[in-house]
């Protein structure tokens, strides 16, 4: 069965299913450290990964494990110290500042936790903003913003003051804003962290459908493995390293399956 025909939550979605899909993002041996007084903080330590079209990859790990830096590097928000980052074969780490800015404006969508608002703008204006910054016509941008808000089940938020939105509604608006430029890669950092179980499930379903139906590559990070509903593979990050493709264990946590050794070997086979 081709990957298109398998639902995002289907256990048959093992890594192998994406082998034919186009590689959207390839990280090779990426390292990044932040200079600090006294000691340096190693945020990324030789990370390699491949994210394909229509794939939703989950990264979990405690705070300080380097998840956010990984997402920043993947999104072209930060350049790594060593290693290569390629987006559809183009090296991000070799791009000029202007090229990188253009890349971020058009190819990447970002969703962050919390309140990523520009104060004083209405919901519709928030969502239009990425298009307006790209020099798009105001009316076209507004139409696109409405379309994406509706698709993200946030159509009813248009007339609401952004301050009055619930956490879940806020994330939906943030996703609509990230998608309005129709990026091919969406990075989501803690997008479901502060949500209740049901909302978390709903947002993950939305992201899963985004990967599955819109064929957008999704890279999502969260401190909790249990948030990774529908992601595959689910990677565990620790001290700037990917400590293993622990999809089976993580999925067991997500779907409340018993953690059996046989299950893992079956998934890897």
């Amino acid at each position: 069965m081709p990957p298109d025909r398998v639902g995002p939550n289907d256990p048959r979605r093992s890594r192998g299913l994406w082998d034919d899909a186009e590689v959207i993002l390839r990280l090779e041996n990426v390292s990044k450290r932040y200079a600090r007084k006294g000691d340096d903080k190693i945020a990324l330590n030789g990370i390699s990964l491949e994210l394909r079209r229509g794939q939703m990859m989950g990264v979990y790990g405690s705070t300080g494990s380097g998840k956010t830096t990984l997402l920043h590097v993947a999104g072209g928000l930060e350049t790594p110290d060593r290693g290569t980052v390629a987006y559809k074969g183009e090296r991000l780490d070799q791009m000029s500042g202007a090229q990188l800015r253009r890349h971020r404006r058009r190819e990447i969508g970002c969703v962050w936790a919390g309140k990523p608002w520009i104060a004083g703008l209405s919901v519709l204006e928030q969502v239009q903003l990425p298009l307006l910054l790209d020099g798009c016509d105001h009316r076209v941008a507004q139409r696109a913003a409405r379309k994406f808000l509706l698709a993200c089940e946030a159509g009813h938020c248009i007339d609401v003051d952004p301050e009055d939105l619930s956490d879940g509604e806020r994330q939906r608006v943030a996703i609509a804003r990230a998608l309005v430029t129709e990026p091919r890669l969406l990075v989501a950092d803690g997008a479901v962290s502060n949500l209740s179980g049901v909302e978390q499930e709903a947002i993950m379903a939305l992201l899963g459908s985004l990967a599955h139906d819109a064929k957008v590559a999704v890279l999502i990070a969260d401190p909790s493995a249990r948030a990774m509903i529908g992601a595959n593979p689910i990677l565990y990050m620790r001290d700037g390293k990917l400590a293993g493709t622990d999809t089976a264990t993580a999925q067991a946590k997500v779907y409340h399956l018993p953690t059996a050794g046989s299950r893992r070997s079956a998934a890897d086979a």
Binding site: K147, A151, V198, D213
Partner: protein
């Protein structure tokens, strides 16, 4: 139970005005037995209709607050029957509207539910203070009055109940706060969006299909698009 049998009990000793009955109910049995004039008038009317009490004097006229009522033989029998039967439905548990609110609040409104628990606690504290001061007003004199002792007991029942409710609010706050931090499973609720969700699903399917086709109708950059040629 209603105040019906309490009224019969009060009339057992001596005939009296309805107004006096209302006063005595609260004074002898505590604030939880307070009834307003309308309720009292209804009780009187029903008792009179059933032949359990009768008018024995007072001013003539239709207004029953001007008349004196006494218990009839049938009334005494009814009171005796009620007195000898134990509470038929057993100890009925009170319904707590707040708990209903909290459990139906849904995940988005848990914080609001916490605020309601807080204000409920405030109400309980105020009420408890009121009941305690009421109880303190009963002063023991040289003469032992049975009524005083019963009123004190009635108030004690209310006070103990309020103390229990206060205890409960503490537990409720602790558990609801805990629940806020959990990935609890909630019975699914249709969100604020309601029926709009179906519309959204259709819109999403269409939009996502377009995105997958990469028919990129990327809006053309206007004059402000600085590096559109790049």
């Amino acid at each position: 139970m209603s105040a019906t049998h309490a009224v019969l009990g009060l009339l057992l000793n001596k005939p009296t005005y309805p107004y006096e009955l209302g006063n005595q109910l609260e004074r002898r049995l505590g604030p939880s037995w307070a009834v307003n004039t309308g309720q009292l008038s209804q009780i009187i009317k029903r008792l009179e209709k059933e032949g359990l009490i009768e008018r024995v004097g007072g001013a003539t006229g239709a207004r029953d607050d001007r008349r004196i009522f006494a218990i009839t033989e049938a009334g005494i029998q009814e009171f005796e029957r009620w007195f000898s039967t134990s509470a038929p439905r057993g100890a009925r548990l009170p319904r707590r509207p707040l708990l209903v609110k909290v459990s139906l609040a849904g995940p988005q409104r848990l914080t609001e539910a916490l605020q309601q628990i807080d204000s409920y606690e405030d109400e309980c504290t105020t009420e408890l203070a009121r009941l305690t001061s009421e109880q303190a007003k009963i002063v023991d004199g040289p003469i032992v009055r049975a009524d005083d002792e019963f009123l004190r007991l009635a108030l004690a029942e209310n006070i103990i109940e309020k103390e229990g409710q206060l205890e409960w609010t503490k537990l409720a706050r602790e558990r609801v706060s805990w629940l806020l931090e959990q990935n609890a499973i909630w019975p699914s609720t249709r969100g604020r969006a309601g029926a709009a969700n179906d519309e959204a699903r259709g819109a999403r399917e269409e939009l996502f299909r377009d995105m997958a086709a990469e028919r990129h109708e990327r809006p053309k950059p206007g004059k402000r698009g600085r590096d559109s040629a790049a």
